[in-house]
């Protein structure tokens, strides 16, 4: 390749938010499924609307359903109209986008299906000038990832050594334990190579999750106090008000630990605890994240009962409506031991965080949907104003709210305007949306674009996945042995009592989000 070809594009200088990928054909496996319908197709339309799809881009939907290309285009159109974040839909853009959409029925278990796909892709590649670039998106059940990767490789549509021109995107969960994750990684790495594997945890595509890094590393005033010298504890809450909905078949096998803690919650922990990366690039950021995961003290079996809590929701009231308990949900076993709530106390054994506990909790049917990280600081070493004046004063805290009201809140003490001295806690709130009144792109828009560009910074690397499972596996093993037992909690509460006791034992309490 010539020097000119590899140099930065001079025409891109000064273009705000300029990001463009090389022409490519994208294949969505499972294109008729829910993820494709609600997220992927609307996101692609919105990328087209922002002119972010490269000239020559083409999309092939591939699924078991026997549809014609026209029928799939009609479904795509309906999906965009129903679920696009930007409304009203721009008919011109949609029409243009649909003209690049094709469909092929495929049975992933049969090699001839992949051969037919190869022929279709070759033709499109020639017609659109895509230069052999392809992005395969597995919007299918995780059990099919290995089959698809192997099918693509057998048909000559994937090679380890093609310098990332052909990439594969897989959705979490990446395996169900360390063994299955390692096996899946091996299959993907043998067929595509690590540089071409994009493991999506859509949390990382959220603007406010990325803002954690901006908050920590673009400001000089927070980093000096971001350690166990000043931080008493960190709480990470990922709460949902919804129950298991229509996902009982999956959830019965996964539970809260695998569904949320192994990925979303640990991702948040890495971002809040990591050292400053040298640069915001895939190697530096992911190296630092893996270092954090490796620093988390592994659980011994007998420790799991002391430092973890698992719960299952019983009937109760959420958002003013009576809801059924987990075991009464359709598709859930009457004696199910699956946890819908998990709370953990983690220790990060490194120079920065020694002696600062990290508390993680996640659950379904909690009072509201909220994701936040609360960094609680230590009390001042001396009470200048006396115990009585500071009776109502709580320790300083910084809360990073990920959703729904994205923002940052700082709690500090202020004098109550009375004749005497009385100090009370007050909050200073920064609401993300009241300073940046933008309709932020959907996480999938960002991540699809990154995958097209070949930028894996916001995707999970193989060693990250495996290190996370290494932490989770001993907990899962102990839980399967009933240590600790599943405790019930009424839907609409913040989890079982044992979760409160987990902190009370250390003279702390959960923050109420």
């Amino acid at each position: 390749m010539t020097e000119a070809a590899t140099a930065p594009n001079p025409l891109a200088e000064g273009l705000h938010e300029y990001r463009t990928a090389s022409p490519a054909v994208m294949v969505i496996f499972g294109a008729t499924g829910d993820l494709s319908n609600r997220k992927l197709l609307p996101s692609l339309y919105n990328l087209a609307k922002q002119r972010l799809l490269p000239p020559g881009f083409a999309l092939v939907g591939a699924a078991i359903d026997d549809l014609s290309a026209d029928e799939f285009r009609k479904r795509t159109s309906a999906s965009v109209r129903d679920h696009s974040r930007t409304q009203p839909v721009d008919d011109g853009v949609l029409e243009s986008f649909l003209s690049s959409v094709d469909y092929l029925p495929i049975d992933f278990s049969k090699p001839e299906g992949f051969q037919a796909l190869k022929q279709r892709l070759d033709a499109l590649d020639h017609e659109r000038g895509a230069g052999g670039n392809a992005l395969y998106y597995c919007a299918t059940p995780p059990t099919t990832y290995a089959t698809i990767a192997q099918g693509l490789a057998a048909a000559g549509m994937a090679r380890r050594d093609d310098q990332g021109r052909r990439r594969i995107v897989v959705e979490k969960p990446f395996g169900t334990d360390l063994k299955s994750a390692t096996e899946l990684n091996l299959v993907l790495q043998r067929t595509f190579g690590e540089d071409a594997i994009f493991r999506i945890d859509h949390y990382l595509g959220k603007e406010t999750v990325q803002n954690i890094l901006a908050f920590r590393f673009a400001n000089a005033i927070f980093e000096p106090i971001w350690s166990s010298h000043y931080v008493d504890s960190v709480q990470i809450t990922v709460a949902e008000e919804l129950g298991v909905e229509h996902r009982a078949a999956y959830y019965e096998k996964a539970g809260a630990l695998r569904d949320i803690v192994q990925n979303h919650a640990l991702q948040l922990l890495t971002l809040v605890a990591m050292e400053p990366p040298v640069a915001f690039d895939a190697v530096a950021v992911r190296d630092e994240k893996v270092k954090v995961l490796r620093s988390v003290r592994p659980f011994h079996e007998d420790e799991v009962a002391r430092a973890t809590v698992r719960g299952q929701y019983a009937e109760g009231w959420v958002l003013g409506e009576q809801v059924a308990g987990y075991r009464q949900e359709p598709g859930v076993a009457a004696d199910s031991q699956t946890e819908t709530f998990a709370a953990l106390r983690l220790r990060v054994d490194n120079w920065r965080w020694a002696h600062t506990p990290f508390y993680l909790r996640t659950g379904k049917r909690l009072p509201k949907r909220v994701t936040e990280i609360r960094v609680q600081f230590k009390r001042p070493p001396h009470l200048t104003f006396g115990r009585e004046a500071t009776r109502d004063l709580e320790p300083n805290a910084i809360t990073l709210r990920i959703q729904p009201e994205e923002g940052i809140s700082l709690r500090f003490g202020a004098k109550v305007p009375t004749a005497g001295i009385r100090i009370r806690s007050v909050n200073m709130d920064f609401l993300y949306m009241s300073s940046f009144l933008l309709d932020a792109p959907d996480a999938y828009e960002r991540l699809i674009m990154d995958a097209l560009l070949g930028d894996p910074t916001l995707f999970t690397r193989a060693d990250e996945v495996e290190t996370a499972w290494r932490l989770i596996d001993p907990i899962e093993t102990a839980w399967r042995q009933g240590k600790p037992p599943v405790q019930t909690y009424a839907a609409g509460t913040w989890g079982p009592e044992a979760a409160d006791k987990l902190l009370e034992g250390e003279d702390r309490e959960w923050h109420r989000p």
Partner: protein, 393 residues
């Protein structure tokens, strides 16, 4: 520009407003009144035992206007802009400096609560000023500015770019915003703008709404040449054709800026230029590799497009004994849409429809504000455009 920068809409039922007007008032009264109204809104949103709700302010936006119609339009754009940038805006309506000194003022404070609960406050101060104070704009505007946030000065119409009053006004602001599409004498004003950009402090940004209008054209071209396999063609460009809306010479500023952007970015050296009838300009340049580059633009009569707007662009290139061409044309039958056709080497021609075209002034302003204070690409394109148009004269 990417569409996420579009304005959000505010819902009228979620707005609480306070208004105040006075004739023959003083700046001291206006400042005091503004402070009272702002505090009242903050207290009004809070409960009895709550602190007043603080509201964000990310910028001051100052607009200088000299006509009723422009003043109304600017007022409306500023209010729209507040849905995107919580701000304080000041509209200074410049009446005659020769009349007796008088200040009439109006203040409107709006407290919005967005659908997601985010509180946004916008304060708009409108000053009608006549008399000698107009020669001291700074004394009128500075007391009204919110401290510690950026100040953008939007000078509508044809600003007195060579006038000392302009330099005084620039002391107030971080960015001067003009619209070269509205210049009465586009050629002269473009040269004056280029001179001003060279002479002001590097801390002050100069921005042109017309430059923002051609952003999409730049973006699409950059995307076309992005793949490494096409990059060689970028350095083999030998022909550029630009069509702009108008009759005769019209307003060539956008076409000039586009040509200036290409020539300054790709290092082309201007050899000579000539202007013909019907607005045609032909310029001959030399690429760093030594091959000639011909740049031509012409005016094309267009019903729907504002004068000066770029209507089409064609680029031809040769590299490694292969040719490539890309042509982008606005589709007159479909607003905001263009058709792009390109051929690379022996491949078939690919045709694609793109969202492109005119944006509202508020959108353009947002674009410039998000872009940042000083845009070096604009400044060097402006210089190159001024050189090219001057050579063609």
């Amino acid at each position: 520009m990417a569409s996420p920068l579009k304005l959000r809409t505010l819902e009228p039922e979620r707005v609480r407003s306070l208004e105040w007007q006075a004739e023959g008032t003083t700046m001291a009264d206006i400042v005091a009144q503004l402070s009272r109204m702002s505090a009242k809104l903050a207290h009004g949103d809070a409960g009895d035992d709550e602190h007043p709700h603080p509201r964000n302010c990310v910028m001051n936006m100052v607009a200088l206007v000299d006509g009723d119609q422009v003043a109304r339009k600017v007022g409306s754009i500023m209010a729209d802009l507040a849905a995107h940038h919580p701000s304080r805006s000041i509209i200074l309506y410049q009446h005659s400096p020769d009349l007796e000194q008088k200040i009439d003022a109006g203040i409107r404070c709006d407290a919005h609560t967005l659908v997601d609960g985010a509180p946004v406050q916008h304060e708009q101060v409108t000053l009608h000023v006549q008399g000698a104070a107009l020669e001291h704009i700074r004394s009128l505007v500075e007391p009204l500015l919110t401290p510690d946030v950026r100040t953008h000065l939007w000078w509508t119409g044809t600003p007195p770019l060579s006038d000392p009053a302009m330099h005084q006004a620039l002391d107030l602001c971080d960015t001067l915003v003009v619209d070269s599409a509205a210049f009465e004498r586009p050629f002269d004003s473009l040269l004056a703008l280029a001179r001003l950009a060279d002479s002001v402090s590097s801390q002050i940004g100069i921005a042109d709404l017309h430059w923002a209008r051609i952003h999409t054209w730049r973006e699409v071209l950059a995307q076309f040449f992005e793949p490494p396999s096409r990059r060689g063609f970028l350095h083999g460009i030998n022909g550029v054709g630009i069509d702009y809306a108008g009759e005769g010479r019209g307003n060539r500023v956008a076409a000039g800026l586009l040509a200036g952007w290409l020539s300054s970015t790709l290092g082309w050296r201007l050899k000579q230029a000539a202007a013909g009838r019907g607005g045609v300009v032909a310029a001959y340049l030399e690429a760093p590799a030594g091959h000639p580059v011909e740049v031509a633009f012409r005016s094309v009569r267009s019903e729907g497009q504002p004068e000066g707007e770029v209507l089409g662009l064609r680029i031809d290139s040769v590299a490694n004994r292969q040719t490539a061409s890309v042509a982008i044309e606005l589709d007159p039958s479909r607003e905001g849409s263009a058709v792009m056709r390109f051929t690379v080497g022996p491949d078939e021609t690919v045709s694609q429809r793109l969202p492109i075209g005119a944006s509202e002034e508020a959108d353009l302003l947002i674009h410039l504000l998000v872009q940042g204070r000083r845009d070096p690409v604009f400044l060097r394109s402006l210089r190159a455009a001024a050189d090219l148009l001057q050579a063609a004269r």
